[in-house]
């Protein structure tokens, strides 16, 4: 009946450095096992899977002539712009929905509706309204990350402990301040979930966004490679997107750790 004492957070009575080392070790091992499996699979399915080696070679090639970096820069710019706008909008709209019943009533059906619409279907409309420049591309990414994270934010807002809001209200706080100083920090855990998911959605939509008359970008690179069945380049694209997404996610995780150190958790 004796369980081990539960892992505790940084404020634990025991220091946790050793655990952190073990953590990284497991991650690294897991990544290598994954690479190994990929390599094995690529031997079994040479037509559909590039081998890690070929991909690495292609990566070096693409990096060597600079095209990779142009494409990364273009995509990063789009993802970042779309994600930033989408997140800010999601927080504002999510608050509005959580706070004002009228706003919730007016917006809810539309959000639920558009959330299930594939981004590809939005593209023709975006072109007509916004042309073939950067605007529609950023718009599609914005939309995707907005639609994902607005739900999380909204849920965060309605889950805020009522006594905390009351505590703010009795100190004379107006709605705006309650939002900024209580609802936002209290729903930070939810908002960060939303942001992390929104970021995923933003990257995943990138390829669709760059269907819109893009001349550069990782999605464009992959689409071009796809029509030429250039597996190596497709895999380079996937891996670069994956790694960039992972890095941005790490930044969010780090931000989360900083922003929620007040939280008591396991």
């Amino acid at each position: 009946m004796t369980a081990t004492i539960a892992p505790t957070d940084e404020s634990s009575a025991k220091t946790r450095r050793p655990r952190s080392n073990k953590f990284s070790t497991i991650s690294v091992v897991s990544v290598f096992v994954g690479l190994g499996l990929w390599w094995l699979a690529s031997i079994l399915n040479p037509t559909t899977l590039s081998s890690p080696l070929d991909v690495a070679k292609r990566l070096v090639e693409l990096a060597g002539d600079g095209t990779l970096f142009t494409n990364i820069a273009a995509s990063l710019g789009r993802v970042f712009a779309g994600f930033a706008i989408g997140t800010v909008l999601a927080i504002i709209v999510g608050f509005g929905m959580g706070w004002y019943l009228g706003v919730r009533a007016a917006i809810q059906p539309w959000i639920q509706f558009f959330r299930v619409i594939p981004p590809l279907a939005i593209i023709p409309l975006a072109i007509v309204l916004m042309g073939i420049g950067e605007t529609p591309k950023i718009f599609v990414i914005t939309l995707a990350s907005f639609l994902v994270s607005v739900i999380a934010t909204y849920q965060g807002v309605i889950s805020v402990d009522k006594t905390l809001i009351n505590a703010g209200r009795v100190l004379g706080t107006n709605d705006l301040t309650i939002f900024l100083k209580i609802v936002v920090p209290a729903s930070v855990p939810f908002i960060l979930v939303g942001m992390r998911q929104g970021l995923g959605a933003a990257w995943a939509t990138l390829v669709a966004a760059e269907l819109i008359a893009a001349q550069d970008g990782l999605g464009h690179m992959m689409q071009k490679a796809q029509t030429y069945y250039d597996l190596d380049t497709i895999f380079v694209g996937l891996i670069v997107i994956g790694i960039l997404g992972l890095l941005m996610d790490r930044i969010l995780l780090w931000a989360e750790k900083r922003l929620t150190q007040w939280q008591e958790r396991r």
Partner: protein, 259 residues
């Protein structure tokens, strides 16, 4: 003497999944300006509910609550509230929690710092000014909540069992301090407690509530002079009043339980 807070035939009915529960039934009570009112009564008799209505956090199902003659429509910084459950902002340090109300009031930085340091000193949390609430012990959390309410310097203090988690010495210290500032600034105080001695020691009038439905059982005027001293606490009059309140709370209660 004009009425600072007036409850006029106030009822509060909680509706929950169809069924409804009368937490407070037809309560009328006038609290004079500068009056120190304590509220006692058995657990669940509607003390917190009554206070929440005075705070403007809960709308009466019937009747009205007025402050300074105006029907209440919501909370305001004129009425400071200490909640039964601390309600500290977990993402702010002790200092920031206390400073919160002052920032809302847009006080200048140095004024804020001065006041925060004063109240932290008062509640003995100076050393923990930069700690997160999660690192505080139960009593320290409560002291932090008290400091936050004091700092904003409201003209009405609504306190829900504020000294409940404090050890005896701190408690006495806080009582003295509260009476001290009250005699100086003459705020209006509505103070909920489950300690009959504390209720008598602090109050102009003790409101004794009864449960099922929550209502006022009796109002006992405490005709003892301020400042209240250890001497007064040990006096015959004090003992009599304490017994009177005790009987009002529990004699009635046991009668009811028996019936």
């Amino acid at each position: 003497m004009n009425h600072k807070i007036a409850f006029q035939n106030v009822s509060c009915i909680y509706e929950l999944n169809g069924s409804s529960f009368t937490a407070v039934h037809d309560v009328s009570l006038d609290i004079a300006d500068n009056e120190f009112i304590t509220v006692v009564g058995p657990s669940g008799c509607g003390k917190s509910t009554l206070m929440n209505m005075a705070a403007g956090l809960l709308e009466p199902s019937d009747g009205r609550v007025a402050v300074d003659g105006k029907t209440l429509t919501g909370p305001g910084p004129d009425r400071g509230v200490i909640f039964q459950q601390y309600a500290l902002f977990p993402w702010l340090t002790v200092r920031k929690n206390v400073e919160f109300g002052l920032k809302v009031k847009k006080l200048p930085k140095d004024e804020r710092d001065r006041r925060v340091n004063d109240v932290l000193e008062l509640v003995g949390l100076t050393k923990f000014a930069d700690a997160w609430p999660k690192t505080l012990s139960g009593g320290m959390k409560q002291r932090c909540a008290i400091a936050r309410a004091y700092a904003a310097d409201p003209s009405v203090l609504l306190m829900d069992e504020p000294f409940g988690a404090l050890d005896a010495l701190t408690r006495v210290k806080m009582q003295e301090q509260l009476l001290d500032t009250w005699t100086k600034d003459k705020r209006t105080v509505m103070f909920i407690t489950h300690d009959v001695e504390e209720a008598v020691y602090l109050a102009n009038r003790v409101i004794v509530m009864a449960a099922n439905p929550g209502r006022i059982q009796e109002i006992i005027t405490v005709d003892l002079p301020y400042p209240r001293t250890e001497e007064i606490r040990l006096s015959r009059e004090f003992a009599d009043l304490r017994n009177q309140v005790w009987n009002a709370v529990y004699h009635h209660d046991s009668k009811e339980n028996a019936s």
